[in-house]
């Protein structure tokens, strides 16, 4: 079974950019969610290998998503990469405190996200 990865961002261009960047470099299927709520609905259906999420989203923000996942036994160990702009240092700190695995500031280049994603997958692989 191919592993799956979830991108959560309210911008479809950003989702397309991440998807396009990872294609060919990371061996997994990619699901997309356009809001925190959609992510919460998709999460129980699949064992995601990783979640990549924005912070500033309507209704359920990225921080809440991290906290929710970290508090759940099932998602506790799923790596979470935050993709967000530098603009709010406070939000960035909170994200890392809540247990985000990595923070990748926007804008990033395709190799940058490929590096972060593969590094986390390797790390996870060597653990188990």
């Amino acid at each position: 079974m191919t592993s799956r990865l979830l991108i959560v961002d309210d911008s479809r261009a950003m989702r397309a950019f991440v998807r396009g960047s990872l294609r060919g470099f990371v061996d997994c299927e990619i699901d997309e969610a356009s809001s925190g709520f959609e992510a919460l609905r998709l999460l129980p259906r699949t064992d995601y290998k990783m979640v990549i999420t924005d912070i500033n989203m309507p209704d359920i923000n990225g921080l809440e998503l991290i906290k929710f996942m970290r508090a759940s036994e099932r998602y506790r160990d799923v790596p979470i990469i935050i993709i967000s702009t530098h603009s709010s240092k406070q939000d960035q700190e909170k994200a890392l405190e809540l247990g985000a695995s990595a923070f990748l500031p926007k804008p990033f280049t395709p190799p940058e996200i490929v590096n972060v994603v593969t590094a986390l997958i390797d790390e996870k692989g060597s653990e188990s």
Binding site: A13, T46, K106
Partner: protein
């Protein structure tokens, strides 16, 4: 990077998302602009504008569009200051925000046209004075921080909650605490299957009673199909109102911070509730399309422990793909295919009709006939479906226009109230695109020439606000767009003078013109009433272009005006140009197609019914004189003698003009796909295009608007009796 088509796809998404952003931004800004005049704008809306810029900045820098990311960076910081209460909206700030929309549009236009992401030709043309240096930027209004130092939520709210609030959410919490609002935590259980609908329902209920700070998902729930969410609510009304709002919802209501009567508190004054849009109910109902879409989704997501409920589960994915963006070119292609199918269908019908006349084949012929009828129906459905997809609400255009109106009215220092109605009227996408400029031009004229100066209006006993009403509605197969102003009206005498001066009209001809004809002179090149050119609308350049552009879309534009009262332009357009029902007629053994929507009725006529009036053949239709145009003569092969017995008369009607078209025979009605004649035949002005009728023969489609136009221009002496004007 080897991104190739993927990168290209992301790029396309970027451009289309940026376009969406411009549209929603302009809608929101117009709302905010209104709200600022009467009170406070909805914080949600301000945050949405901020988030839009924020997203755009991230995208622009990701995709390397530097001018855009710089612009977005400025706007993002500005909006951030505003949403966090460090600045307030001032007219200057709003101006600059509106200007920025134009800038973004410009940059996107350059990228779109050149395909060059670096948009090298771009230079920032914004007036630098509008930001920062402006005398009142941010300072003149009361910033919310100014009054008192903010309440520190740390002492009042659990750190469990604070740690997941974004900076903005924390700020909204502070503001509400400072105002002494009560903070509640409502625990509500949502079913994962229908969380979208349930959430919209809750939002709709809470909007009138308070401000939702955020939604906190809880992972404590034991039921895998349920999700407990804590809604953090700042209650602006009484507790009783909250209970009423939540009637029928099982919610666990807990008070985090009780309401306080602090010095700055506004507990008992009514906080302006955010506009209660009637949206929630719209998105509640699942429809067939959505269910079908989720059927597809379901296959893509391997289920986990959801087998017993698969059907319901699939419905819960409803919102995943509710709409699809399609390039208009692809729709054109589909339409062409439907056109070809129509041609094939016509051939099949012909064959089946011929077969039926052969006795031995009757059974088979009947069978073929039956099958082809079924095919007809489905094809008609498909055609209708594609046409529907092409339709977009005119609000797309109206939003742009109201933005421009705002800008223009500031430019000429007149107060203009733009009243829009019928924004949800749907028109073919291509028509909307082509119509924007002409309508813009008419509005521009209304503002710069139509609406008087404030002083003049006051003296004339009119309200100081000039009103421009922009209205759209459908009438049969036509869309009517009206632009009506309550300005000075058009001075017919002046128009006449100018037209004579410009040599468009002889003094003798002028004397016999009706009032309506005089007004119509403004559509001639060079005719204007304004003495001076001004920045907005130039000097009489344009109304002729407006008319030409509208005619090119098979539309007509008409003007009515009353001196001192106002002016009204009415544009009549076909709903779509892609495929039209047409009446097939024969003239001198040639077949022509006449768009059905331009034909009011058809009658039989003979030479005896014809009376000559001022040298023109006319027919008396229910007591009214109808000028006749013999189509054979029109196409430069006139036949001599009276109109033969049994000829047909089509009463062509477009806008307020009517003309009788005389043809030999009516052949029937058929939907035709119009193909343009190509550039080399541009001069053939009586034809809208050609169409294939299915018998391998091409027919020309008559451009009724052009025929009527040319008829009345070349028969200037013939004044259409006023009785014909309805």
């Amino acid at each position: 990077m080897s991104k190739g088509s993927q990168g290209n796809k992301a790029m396309k998404e970027f451009l289309s998302e940026a376009q969406d952003f411009v549209e929603s931004l302009s809608r929101n800004l117009i709302e905010i602009d209104k709200a600022v005049k009467t009170g406070e704008p909805d914080p949600d809306m301000v945050n949405e504008v901020f988030r839009g810029w924020h997203t755009l900045k991230g995208l622009a820098s990701t995709f390397g569009v530097e001018p855009l990311s710089l612009l977005a960076h400025d706007e993002e910081s500005l909006l951030d200051d505003i949403r966090l209460g460090r600045k307030v909206f001032t007219p200057h700030i709003l101006d600059s925000l509106f200007e920025s929309i134009e800038e973004v549009t410009k940059i996107l236009g350059i990228i779109n046209e050149s395909g060059d992401i670096k948009a090298t030709g771009y230079s920032d043309t914004r007036t630098k004075t509008t930001r920062g240096q402006a005398p009142d930027s941010g300072a003149s209004g009361q910033s919310e921080d100014d009054n008192t130092s903010l309440v520190d939520p740390k002492n009042l709210i659990d750190s469990e909650i604070l740690e997941v609030l974004t900076e903005f959410e924390e700020h909204r919490l502070q503001i509400n605490l400072q105002q002494g609002q009560a903070i509640y935590k409502l625990r509500i259980s949502f079913s994962l299957m229908s969380i979208d609908q349930e959430l919209e329902d809750i939002k709709g209920r809470l909007r009138p009673v308070g401000e939702v700070i955020t939604y906190l998902p809880s992972s404590e729930s034991n039921d895998p199909d349920m999700l407990d969410i804590d809604v953090l609510l700042a209650l602006h009304q009484n507790r009783k109102d909250l209970d009423t709002a939540l009637e029928g919802v099982s919610a666990d209501i807990g008070t985090l911070v009780p309401a306080k009567m602090t010095p700055g508190a506004r507990f008992d004054t009514v906080i302006p509730a955010p506009p209660t849009a009637e949206q929630p109910s719209d998105s509640l109902v699942t429809d067939h399309d959505a269910a079908a879409a989720s059927e597809i989704e379901r296959q893509e997501i391997p289920g986990r422990g959801l087998v017993p409920q698969q059907k319901e589960q699939s419905i819960s994915l409803r919102s995943v793909s509710q709409s699809v963006r399609v390039d208009i070119g692809k729709l054109d292609h589909l339409m062409n295919v439907v056109g070809e199918l129509n041609i094939i269908r016509n051939s099949i019908t012909k064959i089946s009709d011929e077969l039926r006349s052969i006795n031995e084949q009757r059974d088979l012929a009947n069978e073929l006939h039956r099958v082809s009828r079924g095919f007809d129906r489905r094809l008609a459905e498909m055609q209708e479906g594609i046409l529907e997809v092409r339709m977009v609400p005119v609000s797309q255009m109206f939003d742009r226009l109201s933005r421009m109106t705002r800008k223009m009215s500031r430019g000429v220092e007149k107060e203009i109230n733009l009243v829009i109605s019928g924004a949800d009227t749907e028109v073919d996408k291509l028509i909307i695109e082509e119509l924007s400029d002409p309508v813009m031009h008419i509005i521009r004229n209304a503002i710069s020439h139509g609406i008087e100066d404030t002083g003049e209006r006051r003296a004339g006993g009119k309200p100081e606000f000039g009103t421009v009403a922009l209205t759209a509605y459908q009438k049969g197969n036509h869309i009517l767009i009206e632009v009506e102003d309550d300005g000075a009206g058009i001075d017919g005498e002046k128009i006449l003078e100018v037209a004579i001066d410009k040599g468009q009209l002889s003094r003798e001809a002028a004397a016999s013109l009706s009032e309506r004809e005089i007004l119509n002179l403004i559509f001639l090149p060079g005719v204007t009433t304004t003495a001076e050119a001004n920045e907005l609308s130039g000097r009489g350049v344009g109304m002729d272009v407006v008319k030409t552009n509208i005619s090119a879309l098979s539309g007509v534009v008409e003007v009515q005006s009353e001196l001192g009262i106002g002016t009204k332009f009415t544009i009549t357009m076909p709903v779509t140009l892609a495929i039209i029902p047409a009446l097939l007629v024969s003239v001198d053994e040639n077949t022509f197609a006449v768009p059905l929507n331009t034909v009011a009725e058809a009658l039989t006529i003979s030479g005896a019914d014809v009376k000559k009036v001022m040298g023109i053949e006319t027919f008396t239709l229910r007591g009214q004189t109808l000028p006749l145009c013999r189509m054979d003569g029109f196409f430069e092969r006139p036949r001599q003698g009276p109109i033969p017995k049994g000829s047909r008369l089509l009463v062509a009607s477009l806008g307020q003009r009517r003309l009788g078209l005389v043809v030999d025979e009516l052949l029937g009605q058929q939907d035709v796909v119009i193909k343009t004649l190509g550039r080399s035949l541009d001069e053939t002005r009586f034809f809208a295009g050609a169409t294939d009728l299915g018998d391998q023969k091409l027919s020309l489609v008559i451009d009724t608007a052009a025929v009527i136009e040319v008829f009345f221009t070349s028969n200037e002496d013939f004044t259409q009796p006023a009785a014909l004007v309805e």
